[in-house]
Symmetry: C2
Subunit: 352 residues, 2 copies
C-alpha cells in the first residue's frame, strides 16, 4: 500500500524475515541475526524510524568489512552480585546491548537490582528498546550509552561530548512509561529541515565552526549541536559518559569513533543497563495502585479547549506499535530500493 | 564589609554559630542544629544562595509552629543489602537527607553500592550538598528529590509535575564534578527579573494560567513554568518523582505540599540517595588516571579568542567555596535584618 509520501507499508513478519536474511548472508549467526532483525523492526514499530531499518545498510556494511565482529562471544569481565561488566567483543551494538540488559534483568530477578556495563560495543540503535526489555519483565529499566563527541558549548571550538542518549522504562497497566531522549537541544535532522525550508533556527540549537551560537541553519549544520538547556544538558551528557565509559572501564570522550565519520573503525561504544524490581519495596497490588493513580492523575490534567490530553512518555510509541502491527511499517521508497540492492548484492533472494 | 549591592560579608564560623543558635532556640537538638547550620552555610559557600541561609526563616517558622518535627527520630523502614528506606519522621528535609545519604554511603562502603529512599521529609535545600557527601568519601553520589507540582506543559491548564531537582557528584582531583540542576527551563527568579526590567521572555519558559506559552513575564509569573526542553524535561521530571516518591512508597504528585503554598502542612517530600564505589571495577590508580584524562580533555577544548576555558559542572561552586571561605559569605542587608529580627524573637543573643 503506497501513500502520498512515497512510502510503502511492509508487514512486520515480512520485514523481520527480510532483515534476518540480510544479516545471515552477512555472516551473522542464526540466533544473532534473529535478534538483530527483531530489535530493529521493533524500533520501527515504536515509530523511532531514525534508529531502525534505516540503519540496516550501515550495520551490514560494517559487518561485511569485518569492522564489526559477525560472530561475537559475550563474556562477563566482572560478575559480582548486582554488578556485571560485559565484553561487547566489537559486536553490532544491538546484540551487545541485548546481552547487557538481559544480564541486568537476570540479576534483578535474583536480588532486586542488576547493573551491567558493556564495553567495546558499537551503535546500539534506540535506547528505549533495551529499557523496555526490563519493563516487559515488570522491572524498571534504564539504558544509557555514550557516543562520540558531537556537541559543543558556546565559545568552544569543536565537539566536546556526545549527545549520549538514554531511556528509562517503568511498567504500567496499559503501556510502560518510557522516556527515550538524547541530550542535544534538537536532533541534527531539525536543523537540516530548517535549511531545506530556508528558515532561521533558534540560537540555542547549534554553534558554527568558530563556537558562535548561530541562527543560520547552514552554519549550524557545518558546526556543532548545543546541549539541551545549555549547561544542564551538557552536564548530564558528561555524567552519562562517565557512567557508561569511564566507570565501567570502557572508552570515553574522543576515544569513541562514530560509525559515519570512522566507517573502518570499531566505535568502542560503552553502555550501561540497570534493572530494578519494584517488588523490593512495594507489593504487586501496591505498585499497581500507585502507578494507576500516577497515570490517571496526569491524564486528568485539565487542558485548554481543543487541546487533547497530556501525553505520557511512551504513549506515542505505544500508539505507533498498535497501528503498525495492524497496518504494517511505512518505509520510504528510497530506503526500500537501498535495502533491495543490498539484498541483491548479498545474494538474498527476498525483496521488499 | 559592605559593597554597592547592600551586601555584607559574614565569616563562615560566625554565620554557622548564629544559625545553630536559632535552630537550638527553635527546639532542635544540639546535634541536629549543628547539622542544619553546617549544611545551610555550605550551600552558600558553594554559591547556591537561593537554597541556603535565605531559607532559614521559613524552616524555623515551620519548626516553631510544629509543622515540621523539631525532634525527629530516623528509622529504617527497610534495610536489606544495598537498599534502605528511611522514615523522615517529618524532619526538616536537610536532616532527613543527611541521614539518607549517610545510609547510602555506609552501604556503598560495605558492598559497593547503597541506595536509600527517604519518605515523609520536607524541603531539603540544595541537592548538590548531599551528592557531595558521597564524593567527599571517594564515592559517586546521586541525590534526587520530588517537589510539589509547579510545571505544566503547553495546552495543559495547571501544574502537572515538580521541577524535581537532582545532583550527581563524581570525585576528581582538584574538585568533584557536580551537576546540580532542576528540570524547569529556567528558575522562576529569571521570569521575575524580566518582569522588573520590563523585558519579554522566550516562549519556552512558561505558560499562562490558560496553558498558552507566553512571552509576557507578568502572565508567566501568574502561570506555570515549562520543563527543560519541553517533553525531555517533562519526562525526566516524571521519572524523578517515580523514583523518589512512587517506588519508595512515599508521596508523589499532588500529595506533596509545597512549603510556601501550604505553610501549615508537612510537605511529605520524598528523596532518593545513591552512593557507588568506583573501586568495584577500577583500581584507585586506574580511576585517577581516567578522571584526570576526562577533566584534562574537556579543559583543553579549544575556545574562541577571548573566551575562557570550558567550565566543568561543579567548577563555579568550587571557586565560590574558595573565595567565600576566605572573604566571607555575602548576605543581602534585607536578609540580615530578617535574620536578626528572627533571632530577637527567639531570644537568641547573637546578631549578624
Amino acid at each position: 500500500v503506497s501513500n502520498e509520501k512515497s512510502e510503502t507499508r511492509i508487514q512486520r513478519k515480512e520485514l523481520t524475515r527480510f532483515i534476518d536474511s540480510i544479516f545471515l548472508k552477512a555472516g551473522v549467526s542464526r540466533v544473532h541475526a534473529g535478534i538483530l532483525a527483531q530489535k530493529i523492526v521493533d524500533t520501527n514499530l515504536y515509530g523511532v524510524d531514525s534508529h531502525g531499518v534505516l540503519r540496516v545498510p550501515v550495520y551490514t556494511r560494517r559487518i561485511i568489512k569485518g569492522v564489526m565482529n559477525n560472530l561475537p562471544k559475550f563474556r562477563l569481565l566482572k560478575d559480582q552480585g548486582f554488578l556485571g561488566i560485559l565484553d561487547g567483543d566489537n559486536a553490532p551494538g544491538i546484540l551487545a546491548a541485548n546481552a547487557g540488559m538481559h544480564c541486568a534483568i537476570k540479576k534483578a530477578k535474583k536480588s532486586g537490582l542488576g547493573i551491567c556495563g558493556v564495553v567495546k560495543s558499537n551503535h546500539f540503535g534506540a535506547a528505549g528498546v533495551f529499557a523496555r526489555l526490563a519493563s516487559d519483565n515488570n522491572l524498571v529499566g534504564i539504558a544509557l550509552t555514550n557516543v562520540a563527541p558531537l556537541m559543543s558549548m558556546p565559545g568552544a571550538k569543536g565537539p566536546i561530548i556526545g549527545n549520549n542518549p538514554f531511556a528509562i522504562a517503568v511498567p504500567a497497566r496499559e503501556f510502560p512509561l518510557v522516556l527515550d531522549i538524547s541530550l542535544s537541544q534538537v536532533a541534527l535532522g531539525k536543523i537540516l529541515m530548517a535549511q531545506k525550508k530556508g528558515e532561521a533556527i533558534p540560537s540555542d540549537w547549534a554553534v558554527d565552526l568558530d563556537g558562535n551560537p548561530t541562527t543560520d541553519p547552514v552554519k549550524a549544520a557545518e558546526g556543532y549541536l548545543l546541549p539541551l538547556g545549555a549547561h544542564k544538558g551538557f552536564g548530564l551528557a558528561l555524567m552519562v559518559d562517565l557512567f557508561c565509559g569511564l566507570l565501567t572501564g570502557g572508552a570515553f570522550l574522543q576515544d569513541l569513533k562514530g560509525m559515519y565519520k570512522f566507517p573502518n573503525d570499531p566505535s568502542l561504544t560503552a553502555h550501561l543497563f540497570i534493572a530494578y524490581d519494584p517488588g523490593m519495596i512495594l507489593t504487586e497490588s501496591e505498585y499497581q495502585e500507585r502507578i494507576d493513580l500516577f497515570v490517571k492523575t496526569i491524564k486528568n490534567t485539565p487542558t485548554a479547549p481543543g487541546v487533547p490530553q497530556v501525553i505520557l512518555p511512551g504513549e506515542i510509541e505505544f500508539r505507533s506499535w498498535k497501528e503498525r502491527i495492524e497496518k504494517g511499517i511505512p518505509l520510504q521508497e528510497t530506503l526500500i530500493v537501498e535495502l533491495n540492492s543490498l539484498a541483491s548484492e548479498l545474494g538474498v533472494k527476498d525483496r521488499l
